[in-house]
């Protein structure tokens, strides 16, 4: 019958050769017939999944909780205690902290609650301190930190407003370096000094790859005769030590994620017995008063999980327990009201037979 070809009387020769075809290639892929696994959540599987989650989560939670509980921590909040008691208002405290002439040494007595095994980590904890603020985070020049004067002026654009001092580039530039934390701690036990090891407190990758053999220059916190203190942000730097060895700076410049954060100050490499009286001498220089930030000194041992934090343990135990309960609940529902899987009499059109 109809061959589908045009019945042209004028151009009978123009029929297409039959081997030219537009038919798509047929394969398991194009026909969507690839072998496939079709998962089906049968009641059995569901119960198994819940139970497995519970069985995995609860032991992890217990282990995490035990690890957290094994950590011994001493926390001492000192920002108020280290100001003479006659400075009562916040303005007065700001004035006190900005006064360069006074000696701000402060002594705190800490009691070791439990036996603390070395190494004991010394942290300072700041609160309400937004190191993660967008402008603060960006206010640095990684090129300058690595290459020093090799970095061009353009490379330090990001450091504004702490890019230049008297038209000379600041090394290291930027708000982060400028606001370097400058409280210092030293410890004694009954008059005997307890050494704090400040080596190796920063990340190796930072020391070797992000900070170069660069010496500080023109750094505002180092300026002499800076009596009114208007340009002092924080700690000065040792001009004779390259940046990649100034680990306090390296630690500080790995900006914290959250407004409450700890930074590693050093390590005490000896065990502390329970009930030992530890005297901490604090140089209280850093101004957190103008933004009502808290300062805490933290001494902590460590576990495989890090510091003291019950959250993970509690969360794991909770999720595990909920999961087991859900599994049981589901088991009961399934037992009381079983619905045979794939029973076609449950199909809607099989349930209400047509009335016609």
């Amino acid at each position: 019958m109809d061959t589908g070809q045009p019945s042209t009387s004028s151009r009978p020769e123009e029929t297409a050769p039959p081997n030219v075809t537009k038919k798509p290639r047929s394969s398991a892929f194009t026909q969507q017939e690839l072998p496939a696994c079709k998962p089906l959540l049968t009641p059995g599987w569901v119960i198994v999944i819940y139970m497995v989650v519970g069985v995995i989560f609860i032991p992890i939670g217990i282990a995490a909780l035990l690890a957290s509980r094994s950590v011994v921590e001493i926390i001492d909040e000192y920002q108020t205690a280290c100001i003479p008691s006659n400075y009562t208002s916040n303005d007065q405290r700001v004035q006190y902290i900005q006064d360069f002439t006074t000696d701000k040494i402060c002594t705190r007595l800490l009691t070791v609650p439990k036996y603390m095994k070395k190494p004991i980590f010394v942290y300072y904890q700041l609160e309400n301190y937004y190191q993660n603020h967008r402008r603060y985070v960006k206010s640095r020049s990684d090129k300058q930190l690595l290459y020093g004067e090799g970095a061009s002026l353009a490379d330090t654009e990001t450091c504004k407003p702490k890019q230049l001092l008297d038209d000379q580039p600041i090394i290291p530039c930027g708000l982060i370096a400028w606001s370097l934390f400058n409280d210092t701690y030293s410890f004694t036990i009954s008059g005997n000094a307890v050494p704090v090891n400040k080596k190796g407190i920063s990340w190796k990758s930072d020391r070797y790859h992000k900070f170069g053999n660069v010496y500080p220059e023109n750094f505002p916190n180092n300026l002499p005769n800076n009596e009114n203190g208007s340009l002092i942000g924080g700690s000065s730097l040792d001009l004779n030590v390259p940046l990649n060895e100034q680990e306090d700076l390296i630690v500080w410049m790995r900006t914290a994620a959250l407004p409450t954060f700890r930074k590693l100050y050093g390590r005490i490499e000896q065990d502390l017995k329970a009930h030992t009286q530890l005297t901490a001498q604090i140089n209280n220089n850093y101004n957190t008063y103008s933004f009502r930030g808290k300062k805490k000194l933290v001494l902590s041992t460590t576990s495989w999980l890090g510091g003291k934090n019950d959250f993970l343990g509690v969360a794991y135990i909770t999720v595990g327990t909920v999961s087991i309960f859900l599994g049981l609940a589901f088991f009961i529902v399934q037992w009381k009201y079983p619905r045979p899987l794939g029973d076609i009499s449950y199909l809607s059109w099989n349930q209400k037979p047509a009335t016609s």
């Binding site: 089906l40 603020h133 959250l258 794991y316 589901f330």
Partner: protein
Amino acid sequence: MVHDYLLTLAACNTVVPTKIKLTSSGNLEMEVAIAADEEIALVEYQGESPDEQALVAAAASYGYTLVERTSNYIVINVLGQRMTFELLGMHEFDSIRKCMSVIVKCPNGQVKVLVKGADSALLKKISLSEKTTHIAGERQAQVLFDTQMHLDMYSNKGLRTLVVGVRELSDSEFTNWQQLYAKANASVSERATLLQEAAQAVENDLILLGATGIEDKLQDGVPETISTLRNAGIKVWVLTGDKQETAISIGFSCALLTHDMKQIIINASDKQQCHDAIKAAKEAYVQVDNRHRMFRASGRSYDFATELPGGPEKVTELSNASLSRPFSQRMKLDSFRSINSSRADSGRSRHGRLLALIIDGNSLVHALDKDLEQELFDLATACQVVICCRVAPLQKAGIVSLVKRKSKEMTLAIGDGANDVSMIQMADVGVGISGQEGRQAVLASDFALGQFRFLQRLLLIHGHLNYRRLGYMVLYNFYRNAVLVMLLFWYTLYTAFSTSPAITQWSLVLYSVIYTSVPTIAVAIMDRNLSPQTLLKYPGLYKSGQENESYSKLLFWLTMLDTLWQSLVLFYAPYLTFRHSTIDIWSIGSIWIISVVILVNLHLAMDVEHYTWITHLAIWGSIVATYICLIVLDLLTDDDSLVYYGTIFNIAGTANYWLDIFLIIVTALLPRFVLKIVKQKIWPSDVDIAREEEIRKG
């Protein structure tokens, strides 16, 4: 008379005989046949309409073989004897005259007008007077009566009918016509009108020769397809140009109409009648009050088939047809919502019987008017089946547009002829069947099919799967992007509202490009909840689309609620873990980005219902690719990336990192998992049950 009858069939058309020969290269070549060819075995007729081809072929089988056609003459092999007819003129078919004619000069010098056309038009032009026909009037009347009987019989069988007539022209008449014809052909501006005038001059006082009935075979599987579609909750409306009787018998033969249905036939000639008829039908069948009200419509030729208690129905008399054409169908995809008030009862009268509305083109002219269309729509949607016959192409589009305007349903139009083009273009989904009626419908359509029965695969399988995939992907993509953005937002609350991102700029860019894109594509293309076999076995599964199972406002907001929960888990698990720690901004960002990527990929993995190796590769590969990207990004030493250097190596070395990721994934997915199981256990959808059955059995 038989001679003239067959002659008309052979001559009165536009068919061109073509000769097919096998060339040495194996190709089939066609060439217009000429009378000089001795070899006439392989003649094939090429014409505009398959009906004409059929008529010419029929004439040929009775010994009247059309051998050659040129613009000047026609050669017909009459019972082995080759006769040449001079072609004096041709009036092509138009929809106003509804007939075509050729004027030929027979070998014996007689000039004859050979006419064939629709019965409604042609029977009016038959002359019964002896004077013009030279045949006894009684005999003429007898022929007319017989022919009409045959016509009724044919159309009840679902055949398409034509009437054939002839007229001999006297010299004066011929000259008169020739002038008109020449003038019309020479005219530039009013050619069509003048040609019509010329045609009308000769197409009258015809001698009735007989009628033809052409059977248009149903394609394979049409009744099955239609009943499948109706089981799938799709309302089927037929819009056809055929006569009412033909349409009804086609309706029966393709299982659209059944004998227990109540037929509402509307066949009105003017507006008032039409209005009354629709109103009355609505009152009688659609509304619950006015019980047992009987009425008689004032339509010209058909009464309403009202239900007489206990009595036989008029409609049953019309109903023993077997074969016809069901091509010009229009499917109405009823979405569940709009007929919610009467879903179970939809299409049933108050007596619990199914309703069928049959309305003709003349009535539709009025019914589609602004003031009547609401009534028509109400009546039609109350019926299970609607058949519109004698409909003009534009009316087809008008009906589609009526449904589109008045309801929220999706409409699908399927047709094979050029007269279906406007409705195919008007409907939400246009499907063209490529067949003997040319490619007009296919060219205008969204989907082209080879046969009508493929429609069930198109809708039940591809329609179902695409609906599920689309619905799921819309929800998933909202989720995928919202969960990351919400995570960033929660962090902003802890950065003094400074919008500083913990996640590296590159990762934010790559999140949509690499980390989570490929599984979306793989699943959107390949996921499949049910096999084609199951989908065809249970057409009712198609209703999952009508019932908005895969996408609805409720699902959207549930997904958003889930997104909120997941983003909170994502943010607060690391926050609470590290809130008094030395964690730096890039490390916590590193945990967040890997957690969110694993989470959204596992979320998808949990919902995938058909795992091929490609799906596996896409999902697990994405997570691996993300790790590779994160490692590479933390090794870059260019100016902008140096700040991130080495982050992942330090943080991934801690137990907290891994415990956090594990906790986030399980905790974030838990509510979704619970909801999924509870829904499947307590409120299983048909799709759920069919899937269980499919997997259990095979």
